[in-house]
Amino acid sequence: MNPQLLVDCIDVNTHFGALHVLKNVSLTIRPGETVGLVGESGSGKTTLGRAILGIGPVSSGRILFNGTDIAGCPPGARAGEAAAIQAVFQDPYSSLNPSMTIEDILIEPVIARGLASRVDATAQVRKLLKQVALPTDAAQRYPREFSGGQRQRVAIARALALSPRLIVCDEPVSALDLSTQARVLDLFIEIQERTGVAYLFVSHDLSVVRHISHRVAVMRSGEIVEFGECDQVTARPAHDYTRRLLLAAPVADPIRQAERRAAFQALEKGN
């Protein structure tokens, strides 16, 4: 076991019935690091995130967190820092219960773990809201009173409530508008630099992953086809599939995009 690693997934396999959705997936995350996990729909990237969170199945393989195997162990049965692993999900509308106040939502993780009384937990709410740059009077309001970007900030605040060392982020900005997306990404980075939390950042968008990640893994059909330093994977990919992904995504510059399109078509013809 490498003491430098926060998460070490070793040959993780998952089957849904006859479907083999994760095939011998191995992935590591260092403390305070963002690992981007990129792939198209059905590639298994979300399944891997859920396996690490303990809310998705694992058929075989190990998921070491700080050296302890947590594969197949549901969140409620986890102890210590593994119990503090948190998540931020894609849809900011579905990830907050519409009938609960922001305060109730934010203290849920603390209450669930029995870590603090309701009163102590409530005292912490103000601090959490400040961390994600939401006004403190947000506590008594309901999710529907907030925009998508603000809701996602609430979701991030909830994830921070237990001071986790790892947050699994499943497409956390893909439902957001362009300008909101950039601000939320910057918030993620700022929190990481301050607290040293590590992210597994699942996304279909290579440019988002490039913006936030230290290392990037590319998944296709349940396999990791490429895993390496961010700049290498997202600028000079070694694998053909990564190259296709990279060239297929249009860039916001008509001249560069024309070149990129030509390169994509050349690659397609070559295949």
């Binding site: 430098q4 990830s95 009938s99 362009l178 230290h214 399109r261 397609e268």
Partner: protein
């Protein structure tokens, strides 16, 4: 048995349950229903104090007596006071209904929670039992069991409660199934909340209101069935009941027909109160889903629709939208979603309509197609298409243009194909309707088009159902359908947003080629500046229902004029540098 399981998905009650109850009472029908139910309850509770006689008192000479002379509503077949028996009858009726509802609710909700939340085998078994119970005609079973249950109506109502439990079961199960895939359930699970606490904290909260509605409805059903059983003589003849009174009145129908009126009215009014209460709660839950007819505000008088233009009409311009305002009826007037959009599109040009959510770009596109959602209307402005102003075209006038001259490619490929028809049919039907060609000809063209849009096996796709093909293929089918009648203008609403990035590149390529081949003009609605850079010649940037900037594409990216455009382009992530990893030395672990 009535099935109310297709309840609307519930909206969250506003600010706690008391406000919700108050809102229900603010509805006049809800208030009337509550008052009636409270009245019936009071009558039942205080029967001995209200009733003029004891329920068993009889005066032989008042058999079937008309109203009056101490018997306010007359006498029944045995010479007892009808009013007294009505008052006492409410006790039995409400108690019986309570038993049935209690049994049905308890069994149904608990099993429904188990089946819905845990799924799997438990769901299969419980659903089978529920389906089985639903397949039994309740009254026949109750009649068959009569000999075993005896005259006690309560035992019958317990059995009936069991037979009604599937209505609660199905409602609860479906609601839980809807809720359990919400991400906040996953978040709660990640937090380590146990299943039981998740059900209590998250699931019950959401299904509470629909369950109240169902309880109200089931109470009504129970009252009617109970009365039916008593009418058949299955109750205890010693206790006064509304159903039993109907039986008595039925036996004396030829002499005193009026006597059938009162017990029936009592039943109807009580049941109606339950139904109205349920409706009031449902209305409250659905509020905002649909503006009720009659409250639709009148559109404000449109400014003269003549076309005030300085420039000479340009033959090269296919579409000229001026000061377009689109509104939906909202609280106290029209909510404008498009506020004065102006844009032009030349023949053979590709125009990008770009903006963030809520900018009104899709509504502008729908207004041009004349396909605004229910209630939506063009309030003012003009949409000049080839010299005709579409802004005030009726549905009938619009129809010949759609498909033939203006076509549409939607965002979500899968939901835009009718699931119950083969793909071929969905291509052939519009062609036959629009072009007036024969089915054989339309089929030949459809097959050609399917090949043209790059589907590897056109024949197979033609005879496939939508769920048998992938999203990317479905989008190609929709594009084929859109160009099938060689339109002059193609409006594509986020045509690649739902697709994977590699498929997106292929579909954009296809649309570009088709546009050139058919010489179509195209409006490409998108939020993605990459797509704009890839496919558009000119771009209109929208914000808050208006166009803030319209430019040639190269110019827009090189020197954006409007601050909003600058801000948007500044938000595009195309970093030149990447983050470098530094192991945290002294992480500030506390939040």
């Amino acid at each position: 048995m009535t099935d109310f399981s297709n309840e609307p998905t519930s909206r969250s009650p506003k600010q706690g349950r008391f406000a919700f109850a108050r809102a229900v009472l603010a509805n006049p029908l809800g208030l009337v229903a509550c008052v009636m139910l409270v009245a019936v309850l009071c009558v039942a509770a205080f029967a001995p104090f209200i009733a003029p006689y004891a329920p068993g008192d009889l005066q032989i000479f008042k058999m079937n007596a008309p109203p009056g002379d101490g018997y306010l509503l007359g006498g029944d077949g045995a010479g007892r006071d009808i009013l007294t028996r009505l008052i006492y009858g409410s006790r039995n009726t409400l108690a019986g209904a309570a038993v049935a509802v209690g049994v049905a609710g308890l069994i149904g909700v608990v099993t429904g929670l188990i089946a819905g939340y845990f799924g799997g085998n438990r769901d299969v078994v419980l659903s089978w039992v529920s389906d089985g119970l639903m397949a039994l005609p309740a009254l026949i079973v109750l009649l068959a069991f009569y000999q075993a249950l005896g005259a006690s109506i309560y035992l019958s109502m317990i059995v009936f409660g069991i037979m009604l439990s599937p209505s609660f079961f199905r409602l609860t199960r479906n609601l839980v199934n809807g809720v359990k895939h919400e991400l906040y359930i996953d978040a709660a699970r990640v937090s380590g909340l146990s299943d039981l606490r998740i059900i209590v904290r998250h699931v019950l909260r959401v299904i509470r209101a629909p369950l109240v509605i169902q309880t109200s409805i089931v109470a009504g059903i129970a009252i009617v069935i109970q009365a039916g059983l008593e009418f058949l003589g299955l109750g205890d003849p010693a206790t006064p009941t509304w159903g039993g009174m109907l039986q008595n009145a039925f036996a004396n129908m030829y002499t005193a027909p009026m006597a059938i009126l009162w017990p029936g009215l009592a039943i109807s009014v009580t049941v109606a109160s339950f139904v109205l209460l349920a409706n009031a709660i449902r209305d409250r839950l659905q509020q905002g889903d649909r503006v009720t007819a009659g409250t639709t505000p009148k559109p404000k008088p449109a400014p003269s629709s003549s076309h005030p233009r300085g420039d000479s009409p340009d033959d090269d311009v296919l579409l000229d939208v001026r000061d377009l305002v689109v509104g939906y009826p909202g609280k106290g007037g029209w909510t404008e979603v498009v506020r004065g959009v102006s844009l032009t599109l030349r023949r053979g040009e590709v125009l990008g309509l770009v903006g963030e959510s809520g900018s009104g770009k899709t509504q502008t596109a729908f207004a041009i197609l004349g396909l605004l959602s229910e209630g939506g209307r063009v309030l003012s402005g003009s949409i000049l298409f080839d010299g005709q102003d579409l802004a005030h075209f009726s549905e009938k006038e619009m129809r010949p243009l759609r498909g033939k001259r203006i076509a549409y490619v939607p965002q979500e490929p899968m939901s835009n194909l009718d699931p119950v028809f083969r793909i071929g049919y969905q291509l052939v039907e519009p062609m036959v309707a629009v072009l007036g060609i024969s089915r054989t000809e339309a089929k030949a063209r459809a097959l050609e088009l399917l090949a043209r849009v790059g589907l590897p096996d056109p024949k197979r796709t033609f005879s496939a159902y939508p769920h048998e093909i992938s999203g990317g293929m479905a989008q190609r089918v929709l594009i084929a359908g859109a160009v099938s009648c060689k339109p002059d203008l193609l409006i594509a609403d986020e045509p690649t947003t739902a697709l994977d990035v590699t498929v997106q590149a292929e579909v954009l390529e296809l649309m570009r080629n088709l546009q050139a081949e058919f010489g179509m003009s195209m409006i490409l609605v998108t939020h993605n500046f990459g797509v704009v850079a890839d496919s558009c010649e000119r771009v209109a940037v929208m914000k808050d229902g208006a166009v803030v900037e319209m430019q040639e594409v190269t110019k827009l990216f090189a020197e954006p004029a409007h601050p909003y455009t600058k801000m948007l382009l500044g938000s595009v992530l195309n970093d030149t540098t990447v983050r470098s990893y530094v192991a945290p030395r002294n992480p500030e672990v506390t939040a």
